[in-house]
């Protein structure tokens, strides 16, 4: 009878026991006690927190054991899931419905049958075959042993300098943690900006923070190879631009690539972005084979295009959804918003939805506004500015995405927008959002209300508040030179003295009404202030006086962040 029960039971094999795979196993067990669930994981542990690895290097996480969310033993005792760590799955025989696995310790290979297969292989750190890439002292950051190796190297070689290659999430987190350890860091980024998923002006404040900590940042210059140091110790990082950075060690964290080797070899569909193609039920082109996590392509929430998203939250949800479908429940993945956050030496940068770059690439119409409001009441100690960018549909105000940068409360604002986007919310919903307010938590008009309301997005749509952007300044300059427009700085003279746009007239809002006659009636007035609020009020005055007026979104603060190279004088 036991044998007959075993024959009848569904055999589920899961390849990869982190995030998506682990979630899938746990969820599936909650749906059925009879399935035989087996996880094969090539690393020596399952369910480890790879998002914590940089902080293990920085000693904020003081013990490897804290990184292990659930052990193989716990999977067995809680969930009756058989976990084979240090086992690599070599191939899938779709016809025979088996996989072939290798025990990495003994070298033994064996087949395992499946009725359902879940691929959760994750992504591989990109490691181009550069000259010298295998020299000692060059590390990636994907697994607990990677972090341990970096720690050991730092301690053994008393590392004083490091080059971090790649300015994305992991690169910036590594910079922070190496700085924490007192190491002099150089950050090398092949592209024109760090944090490529965000728009360039929104990451501008990061450069200042890095500079404050003595981090050298080199943009537009990719790694070309590595050499051993001249005295036989250390490294020299050579760049495509011809630079050479002598250093004690290097982190090669230039991104990840979906691990699709198994899926490709088995003939499963691969998408144009290089990930395993799945439907909304996380089914691959073989209906008995599912795939989840960093290895798959999913639909972008805004553009509807296929996208890669190496984030833990979606991976976990996809694992649950695969389990549901294996158990006969038709749950579906809604798509990926790309909500993400990174902390850099106290500064927080977060985003959700589409960036302006992504909207341009997708050819979607959008409008944008910038605000620079405090995270909490200005009169309560510790107020600091959140630089906020909101992208929305110019027709109906539907929110397309947002990005925020600041010292406190950044993730909160992005999470609220992410939640509204989950419901296809609009700028009008931001305007009416009823958020927590006490002086130490927010403002009666929260930064998000401001972004949605009056001086910005919703009024822009209603036609009350024509907006221009600093990136349109070439056109604006043309109008000014043609004599059809003027630039009007409505800040007080003391503010103007600290810097303004060349050729701008100064009409402080506080005395604008009295001096209105001095402004031409037949020229468009491009108005700006420090952050946009006074500019909005001035624009309304000018419009109501019968003039053509436009407020430049985000004011002088946005100008300073928008100008290429950070120098607003170039505008």
């Amino acid at each position: 009878m036991a044998a007959s029960a075993a024959r009848a039971a569904q055999r589920v094999v899961i390849v990869g026991g982190v995030a998506g795979g682990a979630s899938c196993a746990a969820r599936l067990r909650r749906l059925t006690e009879t399935a035989h669930i087996t996880i094969f994981e090539r690393e020596s542990a399952v369910s480890y927190a790879n998002c914590g690895l940089p902080y293990r290097v920085g000693d904020l996480i003081t013990d490897d054991s804290k990184l292990f969310v659930a052990s193989a033993a716990k999977f067995k005792s809680w969930f009756n899931v058989d976990v084979h760590t240090s086992h690599e799955v070599l191939s899938i025989d779709r016809k025979a419905r088996t996989i072939t696995a290798r025990d990495l310790a003994s070298g033994r290979e064996f087949d395992a049958p499946f009725d359902a297969l879940v691929l959760s292989p994750g992504a591989q750190a990109i490691r181009p075959p550069l000259p010298g890439v295998d020299l000692p002292g060059i590390f990636k950051m994907k697994t607990v042993p990677d972090a341990a190796a970096v720690r050991a190297f730092i301690e053994k070689h008393k590392v004083k300098s490091a080059v971090v290659i790649g300015g994305g999430f992991i690169g910036l987190e590594m910079v922070e943690n190496l700085v924490h350890r007192g190491i002099q860091v150089t950050l090398l980024e092949a592209g024109p900006q760090i944090m490529p998923p965000l728009d360039p002006e929104m990451v501008a404040p990061i450069y200042d923070v890095l500079a404050d900590k003595g981090v050298v940042v080199a943009l537009n210059d990719g790694v070309a190879g590595f050499e051993q140091g001249p005295d036989g110790t250390g490294l020299v990082v050579k760049t495509a631009g011809g630079a050479a950075y002598p250093t004690d060690m290097a982190m090669l964290v230039i991104g990840v690539r979906p691990d699709t080797a198994l899926a490709k070899a088995a003939g499963l569909d691969i998408g144009q972005r290089g990930g395993i193609r799945v439907d909304e039920h996380m089914r691959t082109s073989d209906p008995g084979i599912f795939a989840v996590g960093d290895a798959v392509e999913t639909k972008d929430w805004i553009t509807g295009d296929w996208t890669l998203c190496a984030l833990a939250g979606p991976a976990n949800r996809q694992g649950r959804i695969a389990a549901d479908n294996i158990a006969g429940r038709s749950s579906a993945f809604r798509g990926t918003q790309g909500t993400s956050v990174v902390g850099v030496l106290g500064l927080t940068v977060a985003a959700t939805g589409a960036s302006e770059k992504a909207l341009k690439r997708a050819g979607l119409a959008y409008a944008k506004v910038y605000t620079h409001a405090n995270q909490h009441a200005g009169y309560y100690p510790g107020a600091s500015t959140i630089d906020f960018k909101l992208l929305f549909d110019p027709k109906d105000g539907a929110i397309l995405g947002c990005q925020a940068t600041g010292w406190e409360g950044v993730d909160k604002r992005v999470d609220v927008v992410a939640a509204l986007m989950q419901k296809r919310g609009s700028v009008y919903d931001l305007e009416e959002a009823e958020l927590c307010y006490a002086p130490q938590y927010g403002s009666a008009k929260d930064a998000l209300n401001l972004a949605g309301m009056g001086r910005v997005a919703a009024n822009h749509l209603r036609g009350d508040h024509p907006l221009a952007q600093w990136d349109e300044m070439a056109r604006v300059r043309g109008e000014v030179e043609a004599g059809t427009a003027v630039l009007v700085d409505v800040r007080e003279p003391a503010e103007v003295a600290r810097g303004t746009v060349e050729g701008a007239l100064n009409f402080p809002l506080s005395t604008l009404r009295a001096n209105l006659d001095q402004l031409p009636k037949d020229k468009r007035c491009y108005v700006f202030c420090q952050v946009g609020l006074r500019g909005y009020n001035a624009t309304r005055q000018l419009l109501l006086s019968g003039r053509d007026a436009v407020n430049i979104s985000g004011g002088w603060r946005s100008a300073q962040q928008a100008a290429p190279g950070g120098g607003a004088s170039k505008l």
Copy 2:
């Protein structure tokens, strides 16, 4: 020509220049340059931040000037709004379309005509005519002079002890700030709990925080009167229950009442909750008279009932909406969610939507779940628990409200729920919410995902996860005594040793599968663990084994907070 323009211009009179009135004036000026806008404010300043007053007493806000958001001079220069401070509006002549105002400094009375009138008188601190209520040393906390008076009294009399009467928002903020000043505080609350808008179990952690700081809390005992101290200095606060608290000073902060005197005298409709009755355009029963802010009744977001809501955010939005409608735009107030937050000595307590008490009062069907998840990844230093309560519609999962208590990230979670509620979101949206995750900001499965997902709300609706509540224990006890049910603690023995429910069997989840046969097949199993996660997994095992099983929401941590008096042993 000037005279004719003046005759044609709309005359708008605003009574009260804080929050709603100030927002209305600024917004209206942005919509029209021709209206004559006049604010009458009985205090000596407009647009002051009364939410900051407790922190001025505590010296966190170091200067009165920080509390003034906008001066009368700024209203004139920015907005061309005439502000009359220290002017009380005495009456409204609806037929003549005038108000009568008194200059409080000179005593002069005069009439002012209006085409549109906006009432933003706010709410009055409740000050019952108790014996001794006018003795020196008894204060309210509504205006900047109130805070100054308390500061001066503390300094002059070297105050060492204070009794705070009223355990609501202002009461708790006053307790915090008096504690900051080294004052021994007694908190007196007439009702059975502090923070009456929340459910009692959600404020339970506050008592511990107060006790840690030496604050004495007396519940269920209201103030009956005041006497001078026996030696001629200080006070004795006498209670209805017969207690007497000798003290150096007392804060009488037992709540506020809409200031409807003007509206009543003018014959405007007053609602059954005692506020001025307005429609969604903020119009009173006289279509030329608007009312906004703490003085009005609005529609509750969930119950649809009329409600009073003395919060700055809604007041500001209502002011804008009144201005829109005066300017001929038909904007509407969506209703009040009651989103609110209070900080108490480092602990944060926040809520949005309906409480369980409110749902019971309204006779609305609801289900509830408790979770106790960390604010960020457990493996990152500084992880702390957020006690979270979610109320939702048992039929479709629509979110009805939430409450949260903890040390960090509390306002973020409530704001996300508030945003989802703005879009009539459900537990399924929480389950799928894609929120910021890096170890120092959240978790791959955020506390909100958990509340919506698997072990809780969404699965409860799908029937996967039958839930019971600690407040049903009388019924559960009955079933146990009748032999139809058992209580099963699935925690490890070391945890059970620190306390459990009397009579509960102990079957740790880690060995439950092996010992399943020892659990009766014919009795319902009421399962609990520490916070609910293991209980959920155990419940699924028991259900899948053919047993009737129910998980007790929130586990032993909820039990400790739910038990009256805080002692779970009474369950």
